[in-house]
Symmetry: C2
Subunit: 189 residues, 2 copies
């Protein structure tokens, strides 16, 4: 499981990954990022978000492709189902964050992964957002469960350790499990 024997592992360019980490160690400021999205209301509960530019590594950057995300409520929630319900986007965010980290950590530890899939379930009681509880039902998910299926060239303990380390270093896991300060400003007209 030599790291240097294979410059790319799991599709991760480990040489560049380590060089990037070294660069950040030498200049902490390049680790400061700002991600952004814009949203335009379409009609009813349907809106469209675009992800395009961001700031990072000391510069303004743009994704190779813009990502356009339609969100809506399903018919059962009086929407037209033009896209996922907004709160559903938290689930792929979590799964993909843990999976990206897993691939990087596996590469860094010299583990070849052969298959990684996951499912995410989030339980939510809409009495919260409907304002029909006495405050005992929250607006958001009461709980989220991620289940990974993972195969790779390492023993079970090692493979489990990759997921655990990814969880410990996951931006989305932290954003969901710990409070994030959010401000909402309004400009009228």
């Amino acid at each position: 499981m030599s790291i240097t024997a294979q410059p790319s592992r799991n599709g991760v360019d480990t040489a560049t990954l380590f060089a990037t980490l070294d660069a950040v160690k030498g200049q902490n400021d390049i680790a400061k990022f700002q991600f952004r999205a814009s949203n335009t209301w379409v009609s009813g509960t349907h809106s469209r978000s675009t992800i395009s530019g961001f700031y990072g590594a000391g510069q303004e950057l743009t994704h190779v492709h813009d990502t356009v995300l339609d969100a809506d409520h399903p018919a059962v929630l009086v929407g037209n189902d033009n896209g996922p319900t907004p709160v559903e986007f938290l689930l792929p965010a979590l799964a993909s964050c843990l999976t990206s980290g897993l691939a990087n950590i596996a590469a860094a530890r010299g583990v070849d992964l052969t298959k990684v899939t996951s499912t995410v379930e989030g339980d939510i009681d809409l009495l919260g957002i409907f304002g029909m509880s006495d405050g005992s039902v929250r607006n958001g998910y009461q709980g989220i469960r991620v289940t990974f299926h993972i195969e790779g060239d390492a023993d079970e303990e090692t493979l489990r350790g990759l997921v655990e380390q990814s969880r410990r270093r996951s931006a989305v896991y932290d954003a969901l499990t710990n409070p994030t300060p959010v401000t909402v400003d309004v400009v009228v007209g």
Copy 2:
């Protein structure tokens, strides 16, 4: 601003909305939902999520269209930029949740909206996920700012009140600003 004079306002079917809320009041269990996503690792930090089915209103349901979401890291983070960075998906989730709620609340209050746009910015210091801080830098966003631009047939105070009420009832705002229990299970092989 009569509610009953206009069965649809802002593209919201207010009659059905109120009927749905009445139905939930009479049978709280139909407000219990479970949202789901599945994810498959592709290569490196690239993975693909699918949103399709969910449970709600006492039944298994499926969105009209599956939504496939590619996530990756950008080149500057040693990925191939096949999609947004996982943590970026939290931003459109927040904007669209607040916007859906805003349209519903405006319709319920008899306010005609003419334009709603928003931008979301999330500041994140990657020293956290790189494990290069002494624990003082978190993995997730240090803060998220949403800025709404809103126009409609009501005075400024009323329009601001719509956003405020939407924030108070937002599932995603709650999920980000308050801790959500997340479990991660692993099946090997």
